[in-house]
Amino acid sequence: MHALTLPEAHHYDEMLLASGGIRPHYRDFAHWLHSQSPQTLARKRAEADLMFHRVGITFAVYGDDSGAERLIPFDSVPRIIPASDWRTLEAGMRQRVTALNAFLHDIYHEQHIVKAGIIPAEQVFSNSQYQPAMQGLDLPHRIYAHITGVDVIRHNDGNFYVLEDNLRVPSGVSYMLENRKMMMRLFPELFASHAVAPVQHYPTLLLNTLRHASLAENPTVVVLTPGHHNSAYFEHAFLAQQMGVELVEGQDLFVKHNRVYMRTTAGHKQVDVIYRRIDDAFLDPLAFRADSMLGVPGLLSVYRSGGVILANAIGTGVADDKSIYPYVPDMIRFYLSEEPLLQNVPTWMCRRPAELDHVLNNLAELVVKEVHGAGGYGMLIGPAASNAEIEDFRQRILADPSNYIAQPTLCLSSCPTFVEAGIAPRHIDLRPFVLSGREISMVAGGLTRVALKEGSLVVNSSQGGGTKDTWILED
């Protein structure tokens, strides 16, 4: 276990050096920014708000049928990443996703990694995301996670760390695309003066990836959505439209003669690849949750006999679980015989007695998470917690140590951002999207999320987070 080097007091800013100077890849932008009047910039921001409203880049709030829709705030200062940094990130993500797919194939087949003693059997097989139905099932090209969102942060040592892998139904890519379109409309001159890598071909890459996932000659691809009440519905509709494929709900599909069909105005049409944006548990009421109205009865049986491809595969959640995350570097070594190019955030597993001691002795400095928790539930943020909260959490950890992991409190890098009173640093993360098809492909970019509250490290859109355009500068 290596420790993070934490420079005191200062966090890493993507644009500014500690000395106050400008990092080289931001110099042209800073120069341009300096030449703009505050009125012009304010007008451009108002224009962006209006356009996002009109396009309907909105974020449906659960349970709100008032007809009003909230907007995810868009910040018009781009997050710029130099080509050299991107090369590191890209190679690291490529390696990581290759290893994760190898891991998924392995645990649903021979389980070499368990037999080799690298990952304890109970960590895999008693994981709620492990799907026995996938055992022994051969998938074309052995691809499980066709689409992966890798959450990366830059710590104050200047290095990138992977915070988590999203192998189930990662979302956010529509914002990456719409943010770029918006920036090009608002500030075309910036794109003339910066060599920004394009991202707009993502839907083409995605469609190629999905088509490649099937062995059929000319496969029919659809996007499966839970429906317009889902918070990511806009993205589902957007991607279907951009790829030129149908956006279907469970009720549009049915199973007959061991194939999946959709109901159309011209009759029944066979479906070969389902880019599903609903969770495993809701896919097939006959196999999983019987009360699910979102899925397709009999889908699993067709899937198991190879009659249809699901992207991502069923059961990928076992590889992005917090209890498996600490083993990803070992997976890379085991399957690829390589050293990891991207680092994990150091993680202490409370199930190991020595690490449990360390965690219990340092609760006030650490972030402690439940291994299956998500969305900030069941979590202790040591530096922000009261003594009573820490003591309470100590008892919970002691009662069930293997349910917890702990990590140092990370300092996400910051990026200048428009705020009420001008421009100020706000913390950001990055989610690039990795596609696994004939080969691993990705567009140079990703979704940068920004915590708009001063000092906040929470970038989630449900908690006041916004987004930025992400520029990978070409050499």
Binding site: R54, V55, G56, G67, G227, H228, A237, F238, A240, Q241, E246, L247, V248, E249, Q251, D252, M262, R263, T264, T265, A266, G267, H268, K269
Partner: protein, 307 residues
């Protein structure tokens, strides 16, 4: 080719918008008639409700059938699924589900209608202005649709919804007037107001005078609203559109729907008003409504459900 569910949502989006407009037309005219001295007030309005199938529900809520209660029930009462505000809500819900298949301008228009209607309901806006507003919003929606959407199957299903709904509504409206008169045919002075009101509610008052240049007669009103192809809310005009739309939909399905539409179309083209009246206006309209409902069911079975 499009998803059956999508086609269904497009179809119902425009049906509900058209239904809201027709309700506004019906209630507007009925409301003005109820102010005439010989009117029975709420009872007359309630008789109009019989056409919408909402009379029993209304009587359950408002046993007295007071004019103001009945009108509120049919306009701003969100608990009544047959009220104008409910129709606007369902139109908007269907549009929301197919946002990717309609133009941004169509969506903005239908969404704004719903938001504004809710506001008006909350404020208790005077009804005459509200009816005009509903008609305007419906015109705007139809115009936006016509002016912005691609001419594909989506357009066909939207138009199909409009004209099936309109054919149904016009037939019911003519039928209720024949009931109100109490006997099938009469050109008496009292009935002058009723036939005039019917023409006004269908926007055909000017057309009548231009085409016939004569005083109102039940026979001519019936001919105009049933058989004239050049009056846009007549049964013939609606069925003309339907018979043209159905064969345009891509694919090999819907044979029975197409045949039924063609039969209905041929009847309206070659029927004559005297033979219709000889058999009884009410009987004719009841027969027409059952054919339109059968056609709606065939459209559902072939395209919108495709079970």
């Amino acid at each position: 080719m499009m998803l059956s569910r999508t086609a269904s949502q497009l179809y119902w989006m425009s049906r509900y918008m058209e239904r809201a407009e027709n309700l506004a037309r019906l209630l507007d005219v009925t409301h003005s008639l109820s102010l005439l001295p010989q009117s029975r007030g709420g009872a007359d309005i309630a008789a109009a409700l019989a056409t919408t199938g909402a009379l029993d529900a209304c009587r359950a809520r408002h046993p007295q059938l007071a004019a103001a209660d009945v009108l509120h029930f049919m306009t701003f009462d969100a608990a009544n699924p047959a009220s104008i505000i409910s129709c606007l809500k369902y139109a908007r819900e269907n549009a929301h589900a197919v946002r990717g298949k309609i133009t941004g301008e169509m969506w903005e228009n239908i969404n704004a209608s719903w938001l504004e209607a809710r506001q008006m309901a909350a404020e208790g806006r005077p009804l005459a202005g509200f009816f005009d507003w509903v008609k305007e919003r419906s015109h705007l929606f139809r115009g936006t649709t016509y002016g912005t959407i691609q001419r594909n199957d989506a357009f066909s299903f939207i138009r199909l919804g409009t004209f099936l709904e309109r054919a149904d509504n016009t037939a019911r409206l003519i039928d209720v007037k024949s009931h109100l008169v109490g006997h099938e045919l009469d050109d008496s002075a009292a009935d002058f107001y009723l036939w005039g009101a019917l023409l006004r509610s269908l926007g055909a008052f000017e057309a009548y005078h231009e085409l016939y240049r004569d005083s109102l007669s039940a026979r001519r009103v019936a001919e105009l609203l049933i058989l004239r192809p050049d009056v846009p809310r007549s049964l013939r005009a609606c069925v003309d559109e339907i018979a043209e739309l159905l064969p345009r939909i891509q694919g090999d399905t819907g044979h029975r729907a197409k045949r039924l539409a063609a039969t209905l179309h041929a009847e309206l083209c070659y029927d004559q008003i005297d033979s219709i009246l000889a058999g009884g206006l009410h009987a004719y309209l009841a027969q027409f409504l059952s054919q339109i409902h059968a056609l709606g069911a065939e459209v559902h079975g072939a395209y919108l459900e495709a079970a």
